[in-house]
């Protein structure tokens, strides 16, 4: 038990728990050692609840809600069964990522703003999965009318994008990005306001895929921000680097909030989505099933565009600028003679 507590203490980076476990050897009898180590278990429980309790509670409730929405009843259709594995797999990946990110990027920054951004960002990603949950639910219902299609590349790409957003979120709230709490709060609030304003302006027409200038902005702005950030970062002073990081966070927050609002609007009133042509001709399915079919068909590509385009453009801009910097030969240093 002493070894177990010591190992757990080291894994949790808790020197107080390690100190307690190391003192167990001083106890005179086996009984007093057991009592001492039981105190260690109590300290460990308190540490776990303080560190992960709230996050675990929120995440478990959100996962339960998404699964309850997406997995009602049973089905013998092999396509439905296969499609339904996607949601639990994605949720498991999201649950494991913070544990892995702790090893790669370090723990979450101790400020309240970073913790709040992590929790809210995760909740936003779960909200974004609502259309996927609806898809899984409709997989069961629509099976009575149409042949169910198996998960395609678009759905897989959307799942990967959600994971990519989670990685960016974990990185942005780690000590690797030492943004001041005020800058981080400002960036997130500005992004959320921009996303909400865009949703108010465009509303459900976001699902029509004819975004025009908005679509171009969604690609161009993050690409420019990524390019400028990567170009300026190596030689810039700290405020410029912070500015670039804050701009990236603002852009991604705006994209995420817009996508979440659009997904929530569909979840609340499915009739908002424009009706798509039915998969069978002539089709005898009732109107409500055609609506669900339309959600299935319309939301996945639009979600990909709303969430994926800014992230991909940002990465492309950053990589482009980094490649240019690599290609450029280093300036030779000359020593001026007196």
């Amino acid at each position: 038990m002493t070894t177990f507590l010591t190992r757990v203490a080291r894994a949790l980076n808790s020197e107080w728990l390690e100190a307690l476990a190391n003192e167990a050897g001083e106890c005179a009898s086996g009984r007093s050692r057991t009592v001492w180590l039981l105190g260690g278990v109590r300290v460990l429980t308190g540490t776990l609840v303080r560190r992960y309790g709230l996050m675990t509670l929120i995440f478990s409730a959100a996962i339960a809600a998404v699964l309850a929405l997406g997995l009602p009843g049973s089905s013998t259709d092999p396509a439905v069964v296969r499609n339904r594995t996607e949601l639990p797999l994605l949720l498991t990946a999201l649950a494991l990522l913070p544990v892995l990110a702790r090893r790669w990027f370090g723990p979450v920054r101790p400020e309240r703003s970073a913790r709040a951004m992590r929790v809210l960002g995760y909740l936003a990603l779960l909200a974004l999965m609502t259309p996927k949950a609806i898809e899984a639910r409709d997989g069961l219902r629509l099976g009575n009318y149409f042949q169910i299609q198996k998960i395609g590349p678009l759905q897989l790409a959307l799942g990967l994008l959600i994971v990519a957003y989670a990685v960016v979120l974990l990185y942005a709230t780690s000590p690797r990005v030492p943004l001041r709490p005020r800058s981080l709060t400002l960036a997130v609030v500005a992004g959320a306001l921009a996303g909400a304003a865009l949703f108010l302006r465009y509303g459900v027409s976001l699902w029509s895929m004819n975004l025009g200038w908005l679509g171009i902005c969604f690609v161009a702005v993050p690409a420019l921000v990524g390019f400028a950030g990567a170009r300026l970062a190596p030689r810039a002073r700290v405020p410029t680097r912070h500015g670039a990081a804050a701009a990236v966070i603002t852009g991604l927050t705006a994209a995420l909030v817009l996508a979440v609002l659009a997904a929530s609007a569909v979840a609340i009133s499915p009739d908002l989505v424009p009706l798509q042509p039915p998969p069978c001709q002539p089709c005898t399915a009732p109107h409500r099933y055609l609506v669900e079919w339309s959600i299935l068909k319309a939301t996945t590509p639009a979600s990909l565009l709303l969430v994926g385009a800014p992230l991909i453009a940002l990465c492309a801009g950053t990589c482009g600028a980094s490649l240019l910097l690599l290609k450029r030969p280093r300036r030779a240093t000359t020593v001026r003679r007196a």
């Binding site: 107080w16 728990l17 307690l20 190391n22 003192e23 009592v35 039981l38 105190g39 300290v43």
Partner: protein, 87 residues
């Protein structure tokens, strides 16, 4: 805990000694020590000078701030209650 540490103000002490003196269980003592250290009342460090094969131990010592607080608390406890004023 502060009183126990005040008895030997300059010396570093182990958690097990403090637990024996105060009668506190480990599950109560260590959170108290952790909070006192966070508030600057107690200093903590690892004792690296241990016999080979034995785990290193954590040491604790009261700070000047902690000693002041301990004295204040003692004086509060020992001072008589003010006598009620009769008209």
């Amino acid at each position: 805990v502060l009183e126990a540490l005040t008895r030997e103000p300059g010396s570093w002490r182990h958690g097990y000694d403090i637990a024996r003196e105060t009668g506190l269980r480990s599950g109560t003592l260590y959170p108290v020590l952790s909070r006192l250290a966070e508030r600057g009342m107690v200093e903590a460090r690892w004792d690296d000078d241990v016999e080979p094969g034995r785990p290193r131990r954590h040491l604790y010592r009261i700070t000047a701030e902690g000693a002041t607080l301990a004295r204040q608390q003692q004086s509060h406890r020992t001072s008589p209650l003010p006598r009620p004023q009769h008209a």
